[in-house]
Assembly symmetry: C2
Homo-oligomer: 206 residues x 2
């Protein structure tokens, strides 16, 4: 039976300036002191792993009541210089209006575009890439944009979410045909009238 510790790490995504961003904190403690890392920490004795993920995110960033989904458990023997530490990774999406505050373990927290990440501690680069891949895969079969859009949205707004997650521009006509075929969204009875011409508002199918 191995003496080990278990942590949680959270990949928190948002979209800023049409680009997918991830939240990183600067580490105040060794190892990797001064480096950027995912928010996270050790699972406490009387909490579930899921509870630990919510608590660490709240303590380190001030982000609360967010939809967190378990991503993957990373358990390579030498992934942490402190010894055998297995981490359960989570990911979440938030609208960019969330306000971040630094917690006790982190000097500061900041959003980084996925294509401009600084060097990160531990195997967190792997974890971020894994989370990004999961997010991309989910575009095809789920309402992954739900957390990032208002209740009713135009297909242009939805396309911007997809483009940010994919890191690529999409053909407008192909995108609309594919989305409407999938049956994930349906037209509402309302129209957005802020642009030059009114745009149909859609919503995710329950």
């Amino acid at each position: 039976m191995t003496k080990l510790q278990i942590t949680v790490d959270i990949v928190l995504f948002t979209i800023l300036e049409r680009q997918l961003h991830v939240l990183l904190i600067r580490r105040l403690a060794e190892p990797f002191r001064g480096s950027y890392a995912l928010p996270g920490g050790f699972v406490l004795e009387n909490e579930s792993v899921d509870e630990a993920a919510h608590r660490e995110l709240r303590e380190e960033t001030g982000v609360e009541k967010v939809f967190l989904e378990q991503l993957y458990t990373f358990g390579e023997p030498n992934r942490d210089p402190r010894g055998r530490v297995i981490t359960v990774a989570y990911y979440a999406l938030v609208a960019n209006s969330h306000i971040l505050r630094s917690g006790t373990d982190a000097a500061d927290a900041a959003w980084f575009a996925l294509n401009k990440l600084p060097p990160v501690a531990f195997d967190h680069q792997n974890i971020i890439e894994y989370a990004q891949q999961r997010l991309r895969n989910k575009l095809d079969y789920s309402n992954v944009g739900f957390e990032l859009l208002p209740e009713k949205f135009t297909l242009t707004e939805l396309q911007l979410v997809h483009e940010a997650i994919l890191g690529a521009n999409l053909d407008k006509r192909n995108f609309r045909r594919k989305i409407l075929q999938q049956g994930i969204v349906e037209p509402s009875k309302e129209w957005q009238k802020t642009g030059r011409k009114p745009a149909q508002l859609y919503r995710f199918v329950d």
Copy 2:
């Protein structure tokens, strides 16, 4: 920092007599001695969590070289009477021709239909249900039948796999239309000629 242990548990599925079955072993050790449980055990010091899953499956059932996918990490504080034990669950699908042998920790291993499970140890009932749900969800967007079918197969054979996983009969015409629309399978140039009339053989798209 919590003193804890980490285990792996494997939900191994097969299809027997058109029904989804799961492999259970009878526990030789406390706790839950004599009860059925998923194959699994403690992660050792110098192996990754994925390696532990392959090793435990091999040791307890003789099943090797199988495609294992990480399912979910179950970390409720009181899920194991021995103390804080977090388990990383995996699932896999095997064709039913695999031969099982009992290992050192298990008195015997046997296949059970999902609708006729005996009482199982720990939170393994939850884990099995979670794995079954994942499998059902994957039918819609992946070649989940790949491990269970020969390289080329008829749509009737594919339908039997879907019916076993869903635990329900499907309408033949609707099933075929939906499968062909999804683009997961494509016709091969061969036909199966064992039945009364030849049937087109399909394969999964790479």
